[in-house]
C-alpha cells in the first residue's frame, strides 16, 4: 500500500469518489482533528437520551396503571433471583427484541387498550400492547441512531476521527439486548464519546460511566450499598451491591484484565459507586424519580450510597458521596496500566493484530506524559512507522468493510432498516457485541469462509443498485498506487460494469487495510 492508500484506508474509512490526498498523508490524517464535528446535523437530529427516556417513562407509567387496575404482578420484578435486575419482566424480554409488531398498533391506540370487560385476558392484552408500542419505539430509535452513525461515517470530513469514535464506542461497549439499552446505545456514542474523542481519556471515561446506557447495561443503576439508609429501611426487599460496572471499568475500560487489582479492589470500588444511578428509567432506586425533565439523567442518590471510607488499590478514598467514586475513576483514568491497555488496543487497531511492543511503549508514554490527552496519543500513533508498513495489517471488520464500500460508491443517503439488516447479515450488528468486551479487533474474528461469501453476496447487491460506475477508473482512487495487477486484470475482464464493481468491492484490497 502507498502512504496515501494507508492514510485513506488504514487511518480513514476508505476513499470516496474524487478523494485525493495532496501533500503529506500523515498530515492529511492529523489535520482531520481540526475539522471533526462532534455534533453534525445528522447526529444532532438523531434521537437523544432525553426524548427516549421520556418515552420510557410513559411506558413505565402505563405499566403501573395496568398494575393498579388489575392488581400486582408477580413479585421479584425489581430484582431477579440472581441479584441481577430483571430489567424487563421475563415475558417481556422476548417481546422487546425482534418480536413482530401487530399491524395497527400505534401510540394513540394505546390509550384505548382493550382493558374493558369482555376481553379474554385484559391484563395480558394491555401489557402486550404497551410492550409492542415501546418495543417498536425502541427499534425505531435504534435504527435512527444506526443511520445517523452511518451518515456521519459516509459524509463527515474527518474519517480518521470517525474511525476513532467507532473504536472508543467498541472499547466502551454496551449491547442492545436490554431493551432500554437498545435505544440508548446510539445516544451514548453521540453524547459521551463524540464530544470527548479529541479531549482527555478521563473526560470520556467520566461521560461514559455516567451515561444511562452504561449504568443500565452493567447494572450500576440497581446497585445498592448494603449499609445505605435505603437498605437499612427496606430490610424485606432483596437489595444489595452489584459489582458489574465497577469490575468492567477496571477490567475493560481502564486498567485491563490481570493488571494488578484484586477482587477486594473491585468490591471496594463497587461500594464507592453505589448511589450512581439513573433518574426515571430502569428498575433501580432512581427510577422512582418521576420527573420528566430529569428522566434519563445521571443521578447520585445518597440514600443508596454505602457510607464510609474506601480503599482501592492501596489508596484511601474518604467518604465523599458522589465524589468518592469520581476520585477513584480519575485515578484509574491516568493509571499506567490504563495507559498500557489503551496503547495496546490502539496499536492493535492501526498496526496489526499483534501490536508492536515498541509502538505500544511510545503510545503509553504519550498517554502518561500528557495525562491521557487523546490528541497527543493520536499524534504518537500517526508518527509510528509501524502503522505505515506497506503490507495491509488489518482484516476489515464487517462495519469497516460496509462503510468503505458505501464510501466507494459515493452513497450519501442511508435507510435505517437496510443498514441495520445489512450489519446483521454481515455478522456485526451495531452496538450489539453481546458482551461488555465489545467486538474482537483481530482477523480471526472476521475472516471466515461464510463471512467472505456474505460480503460477496452483499457486494453483488450493492453493485447492482449503484449507478453507472467504471470500477476500473474508481479502483486507483480507492487504492492510489496500490492496486494489484491481478485485481486490475480481474476488473478489466469482468463481463459487465456491475460485475467489475462487485469484484472491486470484494477484492483483497477492499477486504484489508
Amino acid at each position: 500500500m502507498s502512504a496515501s492508500s494507508i492514510a485513506l484506508n488504514r487511518f480513514g474509512l476508505g476513499a470516496r469518489p474524487g478523494d485525493t490526498i495532496a501533500g503529506d498523508p500523515a498530515k492529511w490524517v492529523l489535520t482531520q482533528c481540526d475539522r471533526f464535528e462532534p455534533r453534525p446535523p445528522v447526529i444532532a437530529s438523531a434521537p437523544a437520551t432525553a426524548g427516549i427516556s421520556t418515552g420510557l417513562v410513559a411506558y413505565y407509567a402505563q405499566e403501573k396503571a395496568i398494575r393498579a387496575q388489575f392488581g400486582p404482578r408477580t413479585p421479584k420484578a425489581a430484582l431477579g433471583m440472581d441479584g441481577k435486575p430483571a430489567v424487563v419482566a421475563p415475558t417481556m424480554s422476548g417481546a422487546m427484541s425482534p418480536a413482530p409488531m401487530s399491524p395497527g398498533v400505534s401510540p394513540s391506540g394505546m390509550a384505548q387498550a382493550p382493558m374493558g370487560p369482555g376481553a379474554v385476558d385484559p391484563v395480558a392484552a394491555a401489557r402486550q400492547e404497551a410492550r409492542q408500542v415501546i418495543g417498536k419505539q425502541s427499534r425505531n430509535d435504534y435504527g435512527a441512531a444506526v443511520a445517523a452513525r452511518t451518515m456521519a461515517a459516509l459524509t463527515g470530513d474527518a474519517p480518521f476521527v470517525e474511525r476513532l469514535v467507532h473504536f472508543w464506542a467498541n472499547h466502551f461497549a454496551v449491547s442492545t439486548e436490554k431493551f432500554e439499552v437498545m435505544a440508548l446505545a446510539g445516544p451514548m456514542e453521540f453524547e459521551a464519546i463524540r464530544p470527548h474523542v479529541l479531549g482527555t481519556f478521563a473526560d470520556m471515561l467520566n461521560a461514559v460511566e455516567r451515561h444511562p446506557a452504561m449504568l443500565l447495561y452493567l447494572d450500576q443503576a440497581v446497585s445498592i450499598g448494603p449499609d445505605s439508609p435505603f437498605a437499612v429501611r427496606k430490610t424485606k426487599r432483596r437489595t444489595g451491591l452489584n459489582e458489574n460496572l465497577a469490575r468492567e471499568i477496571m477490567e475493560l475500560h481502564t486498567l485491563g484484565v490481570r493488571s494488578g487489582y484484586s477482587q477486594a479492589d473491585v468490591t471496594e470500588f463497587a461500594r464507592a459507586m453505589t448511589g450512581w444511578t439513573v433518574a426515571g428509567i430502569g428498575r433501580g432506586p432512581g427510577a422512582r424519580i418521576q420527573d420528566d425533565s430529569r428522566a434519563g439523567s445521571f443521578l447520585f442518590l445518597d440514600d443508596v450510597h454505602q457510607p464510609g471510607d474506601r480503599t482501592v488499590m492501596g489508596k484511601l478514598y474518604p467518604a465523599a458521596g458522589e465524589a468518592q467514586a469520581q476520585a477513584v475513576l480519575s485515578d484509574l483514568a491516568v493509571h499506567p496500566a490504563t495507559a498500557t491497555h489503551i496503547a495496546t488496543k490502539l496499536a492493535r487497531h492501526f498496526a496489526g493484530d499483534t501490536p508492536p511492543p515498541a509502538m505500544v511503549a511510545r503510545l503509553k508514554t504519550a498517554f502518561l506524559k500528557s495525562g491521557g490527552d487523546l490528541p497527543t496519543v493520536y499524534r504518537a500513533l500517526v508518527a509510528s512507522p509501524e502503522a505505515w508498513v506497506a503490507q495491509p495489517v488489518k482484516f476489515k471488520s464487517p462495519w469497516e468493510w460496509y462503510v468503505s464500500t458505501q464510501r466507494a460508491l459515493g452513497t450519501t443517503t442511508v435507510q435505517p432498516g437496510v443498514t441495520v439488516g445489512m450489519m446483521n447479515q454481515l455478522g456485526q450488528p451495531i452496538w450489539q457485541p453481546g458482551q461488555p468486551i465489545g467486538y474482537d479487533d483481530v482477523a480471526a474474528a472476521w475472516a471466515g469462509p461464510d463471512a467472505i461469501l456474505r460480503r460477496v453476496e452483499a457486494a453483488e447487491r450493492f453493485a447492482a443498485r449503484a449507478g453507472p460506475v467504471d470500477a476500473r477508473a474508481l479502483a486507483p482512487t480507492l487504492f492510489p498506487a496500490s492496486l494489484s495487477p491481478s485485481t486490475a486484470q480481474g476488473l478489466s475482464r469482468a463481463e459487465s460494469p456491475a460485475q467489475a464493481l462487485a469484484l472491486l468491492l470484494v477484492a483483497p484490497e477492499s477486504l484489508r487495510r
Binding site: 467472505i452 491481478s486 480481474g490 475482464r493 469484484l503 483483497p508
Partner: protein
C-alpha cells in the same frame, strides 16, 4: 430447474440438437438400455452406508455411527442397509438392488482429486489416462445409440474424451452469481488467506446445496431430470450425475443420513421417471475411496480405502451383497486403519456394463479399463 440450460465444454446446444433431435428417422432401437453413473465425490463411507453389523468388531469400532443400523433393512446375515435408504431397501427386496462391499479402484492413496481421477478415467494411477471410461463406453455402443449427457454444469472427467457429450445443469442459482463466484475465486487465487477461505466457503456451499438440501427434494429433482433426459427414444443412453458432500470428517451421523436420504430419493425418482424403461436401466453408484473404519475425534471418519458400490435397475440380479468380507478386526484392516479392499471396482463396473449392454466382457474391460484389462470382469451381476 428446467428453465436453466447450460451446455458447456464440448456439449453445445448445437451438439445436443444434432445428437438428439433429428434421430427420429433412424430411431431403430438396437438397445433400449439406459445406464446412469452417479458419482459420490468426497469419499463416501461404505461402512456407514452398508453396515457390517454381523462382524463382531463392527459395533465397537464404529461407536455412535453403528447405532443407526438398528433400524435399517437387514440385507443378509452380515449386512444391514442404512435406514435413510428406504426406497433402496424396497428395491433390494424386489431383487433390483445389488451391493458390493470392501471394493476399491486401483488407487491406493488418499487424495480426493487423484482418487476421483482414477475412478473416472479408469486408469491405475492419477492422470495416466487422458479420457474417461464412460466416454470410451460410448465407443462400444452402436453408433446411433452412443449418446451421453452429464447432468451437471460441466462435463465431468468420466465423460470427457473423443466422443461429444452434452451437459445440462440443474442449478437454480442465477447465472450471474455463479459467474461472479468463479471470478472471485480467480481474484483470490494468488492470496493465500483468501484463497483458503474461499475454497472452504465454496466447499460448504456445495455441501449445503447438494444432496442433503431440502430433505432430498433437490436430489429427487435431479433424478427426475435425468430420467426425462434418458426417457425419449432420441434421448441419451448414458447419463452421469455428480453428487458431493460425502467428505464427512465431522458430525458424520447426521450428515451421512441426509446425504443417503438424498441419494435414495435420487434413485427412487429415476425409477419413477423412467417408468417401464426401468426394466432396461442400470444405475451404478461409486465413490473414489472409502473412509477409516474407526470414528475420529469429531464424530466423523477420515480418508480410507475400501468402500461399497451399488447397482440398481430392473435387470440387475439383485437382492444380494457381493463381498469377500475381509473383517474389521485390527489385523484385518488395510494399513491398520481402512477397510481392506477385496474386490476390484474396475472388474465390478466392467462386469456390470458388459452384461447390461450385451458386450463381450473382455472387450468391455479392454475399452474401459485398458490398464487392468487382464483382470476378469465380474460376471453374473445381471439377470440372464
Amino acid at each position: 430447474m428446467l428453465d436453466r440450460r447450460s451446455f458447456l465444454s464440448t456439449g453445445t446446444l448445437g451438439v445436443l440438437a444434432s445428437a438428439f433431435a433429428p434421430r427420429i428417422a433412424f430411431a431403430r432401437a438396437a438397445t433400449d438400455k439406459r445406464f446412469v453413473f452417479i458419482i459420490q465425490r468426497g469419499a463416501a463411507d461404505g461402512l456407514g452406508t452398508i453396515g457390517a453389523v454381523g462382524d463382531p468388531a463392527f459395533a465397537g469400532v464404529r461407536g455412535e455411527l453403528a447405532a443407526d443400523f438398528a433400524s435399517g433393512a437387514k440385507l443378509d446375515g452380515m449386512f444391514t442397509l442404512h435406514p435413510a435408504m428406504t426406497a433402496s431397501a424396497g428395491l433390494y427386496k424386489q431383487g433390483q438392488a445389488l451391493f458390493a462391499h470392501a471394493i476399491a479402484s486401483p488407487y491406493r492413496d488418499r487424495s480426493h482429486f487423484d482418487g476421483q481421477n482414477v475412478l473416472e478415467t479408469g486408469g491405475v494411477s492419477a492422470y495416466q489416462v487422458r479420457d474417461g471410461w464412460l466416454n470410451r463406453l460410448l465407443g462400444v455402443l452402436p453408433a446411433d445409440e452412443a449418446r451421453a449427457i452429464a447432468v451437471a454444469a460441466t462435463v465431468p472427467m468420466a465423460l470427457r474424451g473423443r466422443r461429444e457429450v452434452a451437459s445440462y445443469a440443474p442449478s437454480s442459482l442465477p447465472d450471474a452469481s455463479d459467474d461472479l463466484l468463479q471470478r472471485v475465486a480467480m481474484l483470490y487465487d494468488g492470496d493465500q488467506q483468501l484463497h483458503g477461505l474461499w475454497s472452504e466457503a465454496m466447499a460448504t456451499r456445495q455441501l449445503t446445496s447438494d444432496l442433503a438440501q431440502d430433505g432430498g427434494r433437490n436430489a429427487a429433482a435431479t433424478g427426475a431430470l435425468a430420467a426425462r433426459l434418458l426417457k425419449p427414444d432420441t434421448g441419451a443412453r448414458i447419463a452421469m450425475i455428480e453428487t458431493g458432500g460425502w467428505d464427512t470428517h465431522t458430525g458424520q451421523r447426521g450428515r451421512l443420513t441426509a446425504q443417503l436420504k438424498g441419494l435414495d430419493a435420487m434413485v427412487a425418482s429415476l425409477q419413477a421417471g423412467l417408468g417401464p424403461l426401468w426394466a432396461d436401466t442400470m444405475v451404478l453408484i461409486a465413490t473414489e475411496f472409502g473412509r477409516t473404519v474407526a470414528v475420529n475425534g469429531t464424530g466423523g471418519t477420515d480418508h480410507g480405502t475400501g468402500t461399497s458400490a451399488m447397482l440398481f435397475g430392473g435387470a440387475v440380479k439383485g437382492g444380494r451383497v457381493v463381498s469377500d468380507w475381509p473383517g474389521l478386526a485390527p489385523a484385518a484392516l488395510y494399513e491398520a486403519r481402512d477397510l481392506k479392499p477385496t474386490m476390484q471396482l474396475d472388474a465390478f463396473i466392467g462386469g456390470a456394463v458388459s452384461s447390461h449392454f450385451g458386450v463381450e466382457p473382455a472387450r468391455a474391460m479392454a475399452a474401459l479399463f485398458p490398464a487392468t484389462a487382464k483382470t476378469a470382469a465380474i460376471e453374473g451381476l445381471v439377470r440372464a
